[in-house]
Amino acid sequence: MKLKKGSFLWYLYLDKLYCLLSVRNVKALVDYFHLLDVHHKNTLNDVLFYHFLHHVTNLTRTQINIVFNMLDWSAVGEIGFDQFYMLVCILLAQENRLEERFIFRHSRPVFELLDVDGELRVGAANFHMYNFLFNIKRQELRELYHDFDITGDRRLNYKEFKLFTIFFMDKYQERQKAEKEKALLEKKRSRQVNVSQKKSLLGLNGSESRI
């Protein structure tokens, strides 16, 4: 999923620690929501919601319908501002590659979103259906069910899911650390190369001057 560059949402940002919008960003989002709330019900119906998501992302119609059904947790056929805000946070988390941190910080609401049937358990099919939103890879899903399905019912309850988010977050931090170290090493190498090039140039110039 990609946000359209230059769209209004593209200019918002999440706090990197808590993965939430600042008050100013929320105020801007409220104003934006009210511009789209054509019928003055503080909600967006499915048509308005579809055109909004279609305009600002590259999601397909099927995916947009899945998102709408996921957010319409009261099954009223409309999305209120709370759900809209949740969606924007998820979109921004994916855009800024903060999915692991977002799931870790907001494990309960994410679990409730994935638990579409209300059974307090999430199966692999649920994860797979929302993969385009939370970006959990297949290998990670397999590990998830292998390592964390403690009860053995091939579904995760909230506690098992919470353990998974902690593990997911640790893996993310290790990956970040490895990337930083790699970047530092590359920087050092490029500096060394520059220094040796300069030395060789100076050496050449010196020998030419003697000749």
Partner: protein, 210 residues
Amino acid sequence: MEEKPFKALAKSSGRQGSGKSSRHSDIRKLWTTATLSQPKVNVALSSVCDDSEASSVGGNTRRWYDQKAGRHSDIGWEDSEDGEDKDSFRQEELEEHSLLELQLHGGSSLGSRLEEGDDDARTETERSSSMSSLNFSKHTHHRAYWVEQQSRLPLPLRELMENEALEILTKALQSYRSGIGRDHFLTKQLQRHIEGLKRRRNKRLHVSVH
């Protein structure tokens, strides 16, 4: 994003005419500190600005300055960082208003007529009507600034939001028409909303051009 609007405004105020800049920056600084410390001030200004559109501008701007000064005295102006005395503030505002009027007399749109030597021919009513229209355009420019200060959203962001909403809703209108028909009340409501947004956008463009 939080700090940039104030910095952008501070820079833009510096680009205005040097004669006016110090007075504008004083007022803006005072207003900014006022709004930071006194949230209630926001409510009154919008109603006052709406009032100023209905009747002649000259008298109402003076009334607005008086109301603003009076309100600050009620709330407690000494809370601001500058600690301006309310009497000197009112005097400063009135002085600025009279200076604005003087500048309008020497303004470019009047200046071309003066150069032609038609001063004697022009009547008192023509002068006052042109002055009031110039006053109104100047007040509109200021009004955009005050609205931005109140809402705290940068105007370019507001423009972007409205343009994007307009595009989305225009596409939604096509779906409404094909789904529930042109005559359905929801379709008409959406159409009216789109027209309202377009009018607002055109008004904004018109103000920015002039």
